[in-house]
């Protein structure tokens, strides 16, 4: 087994969940994972111990690139809901999926991955203040949604 394969088996679900939290689309999350690990295969050197950070950062970049693509469409009616929305029946799932992508990403990194706001800021290339703001707003929204 190559190093890339070994890292793939260790971190595949983490990268997948992060991509899913960003895109809310299984297909896109799967494609992003493939892109990320293929990049890993081509990557010459990664600082030992920093492999996961590299993967998460590459994943964030890949998600951003995907979402940055142009969308041209008429606005009425709005585009159809994603496939995931159709299967949202669990309240927590519904609440998380109702968050905007940039909120979902910080919620995932903070609550599931256990990163600090400083680490998230570094991963997402945004300020620590913005991470804290997004976390605060996401918490408020989730609390409100789950209480309804």
């Amino acid at each position: 087994m190559t190093d890339a394969e070994s890292l793939f088996h260790t971190y595949k679900d983490d990268v997948y969940r992060f991509a899913l939290s960003y895109t809310r689309s299984r297909e896109e999350a799967e494609d992003i994972c493939q892109t990320v690990f293929e990049k890993l295969l081509r990557q010459k050197t990664i600082t030992p111990g920093k492999e996961k950070a590299w993967l998460m950062q590459t994943c964030a970049n890949a998600c951003r690139n995907l979402l940055r693509c142009h969308w041209w469409q008429r606005t009425a009616p709005l585009d159809s809901a994603s496939a995931l929305e159709a299967e949202e029946e669990h309240p927590v799932k519904q609440a998380i999926h109702s968050l905007a992508p940039h909120y979902r990403a910080v919620v995932y990194l903070y609550y599931y991955e256990g990163y600090s706001t400083q680490e998230i800021a570094s991963l997402l290339h945004i300020s620590q203040t913005l991470v804290s703001t997004r976390l605060h707003r996401a918490r408020q929204t989730l609390k409100q949604l789950l209480e309804e």
Partner: protein
Amino acid sequence: MERNIREYFENETMPEDTVRRIEDSLRKPRPSTAPLLRMAAVFAVVLLAVGLFLSTDLMEVCADVFDIPIHTQKPEATEPLGQMETEIYVSYGGIVGGEGEKIDAYISLAPNTGIPAEVIDGRLYFTANAEHIDITDLCSEETAYVYALQDNTGVQHYFIIGGTPEDWGYQIFLKVPGMDICGGWICGGSAGATTRASDWKYRQWAHDGQAKVGHPWPLED
């Protein structure tokens, strides 16, 4: 709540078939077919669109609209606009749909001119129409900067830009006189650097911008 969030994410794991697919690609990397597929899809859309486009009265209107350079007339805007005695360098992409989602026309997107803003040294600039306006303090997560102009064919162009330099987005609306589908509105754009068009409804600035330009369809579910 925190435990619920962790449980939710814990239940999401990569599907087995995807694991196998990626394992295969790591053992035997193949050149990506995505660019070819994208080219084929674009080609198919263009073929379809050209046929439909030629069969509509829109051709004449849109030919005028995209006969670049277009010399502008006095703009109507909600914010300071800078010098408008210039040529329009932007062009738009857009799919105009009638009832039932049938595509009636397709307008191609010219490279390098589709995104009306960019971040330079941490500041957000409006860059379309040969402008270079620092709009960092003119918009926010809640409010939109709107740049409007009317070209010499009578088409009204609205650029809506909102957010922050870290997370900004835009929408472009065209109001075409005499076009009876969609109330004459053509819309296009990207919701932001970190989100997509389907998430416009989450962005307060997008709602604000739409209200400013008087677009009739609110971004609701």
